[in-house]
Symmetry: C2
Subunit: 257 residues, 2 copies
């Protein structure tokens, strides 16, 4: 099978021009098929602030009322996505921006209200990569914003780590998939106060153990849950890394047991 590299870029990386440029340089050099999934939460919060909207997060997830949905649609689907697409085009990468609504790529269901009403937040229900796979063959590089749709015209806000993992799992039926989660730190840290304490490898049981000990930070947990889910569902390799190191394959490699 052909190789497909999926790079999820989040945190500050996508929102600081210098970090983003360095990342796009490295991304452009990846051989084989590739795809980029981006976040943009900090920029969304900044725009919400300017519009006088309060940001409420529960377990790292944004409560998305109608006004906040407009903000994330504008920031993820417009500002961040088009900056990345234009940046890749300038590097001779034939990028094409997507949300989950485009080509019906990712359908989601609005999260049911149990204890918390997350608003217009979607849980992924169906992935359709038919046209996406045709585009890979034309050397097109998809750039995915963390938005989905419900099939009835409603855009929904969906976590970018989850989108990267779900796309990786689906595409693993057609490609040998490498999934890189790229953020500010060099990997998963064994000491949250020491940026050099990168764990070179991590198994799921070691992750659970470290999580119980409170060693792994809250923001890291969904990334690792999604990463292990991908690893146990056909994805060839999952690496937690940063822009300076991902191209060299350095960071924390998730291991099957």
């Amino acid at each position: 099978m052909d190789r497909l590299t999926i790079v999820k870029v989040g945190g500050k990386v996508v929102e600081e021009p210098e970090l983003l440029n360095a990342l796009l340089d490295d991304f452009a050099r990846i051989t084989g098929y590739k795809m980029l999934v981006h976040g943009g939460g900090k920029a969304a919060t900044a725009l919400a602030d300017r519009l006088g909207l309060e940001t409420h997060m529960v377990d790292g997830r944004r409560i998305t009322d109608a006004a906040m949905l407009e903000v994330v649609t504008m920031v993820y689907g417009g500002l961040v996505n088009k900056k990345v697409v234009a940046g890749l085009q300038s590097r001779n990468i034939n990028a094409l921006g997507f949300t989950g609504a485009d080509l019906d790529l990712i359908r989601a269901r609005r999260r049911p209200v149990v204890d918390i009403d997350y608003g217009f937040v979607g849980d992924v229900e169906n992935i359709n990569t038919r046209e996406l796979r045709l585009l890979f063959r034309e050397n097109v590089v998809p750039v995915i914003a963390p938005l989905t749709h419900d099939g009835y015209g409603q855009i929904l806000n969906t976590n970018a780590d989850t989108i990267a993992s779900q796309l990786a799992i689906d595409l693993a039926h057609h490609f040998k998939v490498f999934l890189f989660y790229c953020f500010e730190k060099r990997g998963v840290l064994s000491d949250p106060m020491d940026d050099d304490s990168v764990m070179p490898e991590l198994t799921e049981s070691a992750f659970i153990e470290n999580q119980e000990l409170g060693i792994i930070s809250t923001g890291m947990i969904p990334k690792l849950q999604n990463g292990f889910r991908a690893l146990y569902n056909g994805v060839g390799e999952v690496l937690i890394t940063n822009p300076a190191n991902f191209a060299r394959g350095r960071g924390t490699r998730l291991l099957r047991e």
Copy 2:
């Protein structure tokens, strides 16, 4: 040659949910290949207002400084584009949103400063529809936001009427193209005060005459200039119409002399 219908939707149409829904219903019923080009200027001005940014227009063109470029990128590329894409998907139309940066569809050059500095406004330089044409064959329906790129990573703001006309001219080499400019009025009016005074047909010389007499409104001029340009460059038919009438082919038909 196969038939391709390009519908440019602007003005209030794209920004009022009822008008937009009626338009998308009619658009969904068009047979053959089709594409939608949208504006979003009123929504951009509204967001700029909320952010405390002043909107300056010269001859119907928006002065686009760095802050305004972020606004139009968010509104055109995010908010409006994704609303249209999700709305079409809910009607079983396999829509895919684009800016000119996506698939390198439209390259533009930043407009040189002569008397006025328009800022990040781009004049179209090159159209590349190679991948777009492959997508038509897969029954994909492109939805185009009025943004272009310069090939060096810079997004630029470009008039939607011009984009519709330029794409129509390029695609006329491959398809029999019908170009519909769809706005609030039923067509070009012979009496600006009377919405029923729709001219059924208009030649370029009659347009120039009416323009000199001050009968044709300022906002209409770029639409007609672009329309005649398309008509004289291979486009099969150009119609100025509104959402209630475009599906029936009613409105003002531009005529070759």
